[in-house]
């Protein structure tokens, strides 16, 4: 192969003048972490709410929740990010639009909101599946004890449902991290974008991509093992697994 390997490249100074190539990747890694963590919090909050609405008996509430899920699941994430980044500032009143466009770090906020909402539809499906998987008696027992419907959800249904859906939620969490790389298209300097920059400055394509691959793998491993430990701690005696 005519490719010239140079693994020492990461310790050489980058032309950006702020440190080495390794520092560039590190900064990208931190951005990936930040945007994924924020998006995940958003996805979990909205996704849980929509998932609960979807499990309610009222057909209209159910329909609205379903419409939300279908809308966000059937448009590619890339297109959704473009809608948030390019289209939204034009559709709101002009003053707001200007404010949105001048927002410092706009790709970050757009990436976080876009990714969070995209993932919230998937979380919602998991949450409502988890709720549907519980035996009917749980809700009946709750109401028989005199709990109101919200209390039933808060103290009985949700704690059980979240335990049931822990494994799929873990993979959605990893999906959030992976999908955050799509935000490079709106100019977010996350890990994949920084890897591309390293490659363009240094011409060391495969070293840069190998480093990114290893970082993503380690990140996956960390999330999976942390969630597995968490799952074990939360496990209730007498219910599933163990």
């Amino acid at each position: 192969m005519s490719y010239h390997w140079n693994w020492g490249i990461f310790w050489e100074a980058s032309p950006e003048g702020t440190g080495t190539y390794a520092d560039m990747l590190w900064a990208g890694f931190l951005t990936t972490l930040e945007v994924s963590a924020l998006a995940w919090i958003l996805a979990l909050t909205i996704g849980s709410a929509v998932g609960v609405l979807r499990s309610l008996p009222n057909p209209w509430v159910k329909r609205i929740a379903n419409a939300y899920i279908e809308l966000l699941r059937n448009i590619p994430l890339l297109v959704q990010l473009f809608l948030w980044y390019f289209v939204l500032p034009e559709l709101v009143p002009e003053a707001w639009g200007d404010w949105l466009k001048q927002l410092p770090n706009a790709p970050f906020w757009n990436g976080f909101i876009g990714l969070g909402l995209f993932m919230s539809a998937r979380v919602a499906v998991q949450v409502s599946t988890g709720i549907a998987a519980l035996p009917r008696g749980q809700m009946a027992a709750g109401t028989a004890l005199g709990l109101t419907l919200p209390q039933c959800y808060w103290y009985v249904i949700l704690p059980m449902a979240f335990r049931v859906i822990m494994p799929p939620l873990t993979s959605e969490m990893i999906n959030t991290i992976k999908n955050s790389s799509v935000a490079l298209t709106i100019g977010l300097a996350e890990l994949t974008a920084r890897t591309r920059a390293v490659q363009e400055f240094s011409f060391q394509v495969f070293e840069a991509f190998t480093a990114a691959t290893v970082i993503y793998l380690l990140l996956n491993l960390a999330v999976t093992s942390a969630m597995r430990a968490f799952e074990k701690r939360l496990r209730l005696p007498g219910y599933g697994g163990s």
Binding site: M1, S2, Y3, E70, L71, R73, N74, I75, P76, L77, L78, V79, Q80, F82, L83, F86, V87, E90, L91, V92, P93, I174, I177, K178, N179, S180, S181, V182, L184, T185, T192, T195, R196, Q199, V205, F206, F209, A212, T213, Y216, L217, N220
Partner: protein, 230 residues
């Protein structure tokens, strides 16, 4: 808000969007789904009935693909394939690979990992007695797999395979990072040329939504029809 929404630009560019863009997207989706399914089935078989070494390698490959972001994998293949081509053909320098071939190979290899997991789940869900029965009838292991197990797996897993293909259809929009002219790429070229970002991206979103929504409704209907009652 919608007062200067220009429907005409959509109308004017629709032939280009669909003839160039959508054709690219659909061709890429179908070919990579087909290749990915063939390769994925082979991977699943290798993982289940291959030797220890082979199944470890395949498991490693599947897990690697499933834990990397698609965007990174697209870049990997885009730069790696010319060198691989050089290595295979023994050419003096990295060979030139077109954007479409590069994307096709990427999606086929990437989706193979996901399809193989679906197929593996399907194969393992078939009762063990079936392959014992096949072997007892004097069929070889390969014949049992081909005539008894796999036809049932394809049938029960069809909805999942199609759902994965819808996901793939959406994911092909990521070839945007290679500046290829798929449906979204075409829309975005017009958007930038004519300064009509709002119209083009809204229209692209609507088209993707309609196709994916109708397709997933059809899959849902199919699901109830192909289900084998046990």
């Amino acid at each position: 808000m919608f007062s200067d929404f220009d429907f005409d630009v959509i109308w004017r560019t629709a032939p280009y969007l669909f003839r160039d863009g959508m054709t690219f997207t659909v061709t890429l989706t179908l070919l990579s789904a087909l290749l990915g399914l063939c390769l994925g089935t082979l991977l699943a078989l290798a993982r289940i009935s291959g030797g220890k070494v082979l199944s470890t390698i395949v498991t490693g490959y599947v897990n690697l693909m499933r834990s990397l972001p698609l965007v990174l994998v697209i870049f990997w293949f885009y730069f790696l394939v010319p060198y691989l081509g050089q290595w295979i053909t023994g050419a003096p320098r990295p060979i030139k690979v077109g954007g479409f071939s590069s994307a096709l190979l990427t999606f086929a290899m990437f989706e193979a990992a996901y399809f193989s997991e679906i197929m593996r789940g399907g194969i393992q869900s078939i009762a063990r007695g079936q392959s014992s029965a096949g072997l007892a009838l004097g069929l070889s292991g390969g014949q049992t797999m081909r005539y008894i197990i796999l036809p049932q797996v394809f049938r029960t897993m069809l909805p999942l395979l199609l759902t994965q293909t819808i996901v793939l259809f959406q994911d092909t929009s990521l070839v945007y990072v290679l500046s290829l002219t798929d449906f979204l790429g075409a829309a975005s070229k017009i958007a930038q040329r004519d300064g009509r970002l709002v119209e083009m991206y809204c229209f692209a979103a609507l088209v993707y939504f309609l196709i994916c929504f109708l397709a997933s409704q059809a899959v849902r209907r199919l699901q109830t029809r192909v289900a084998i009652i046990r």
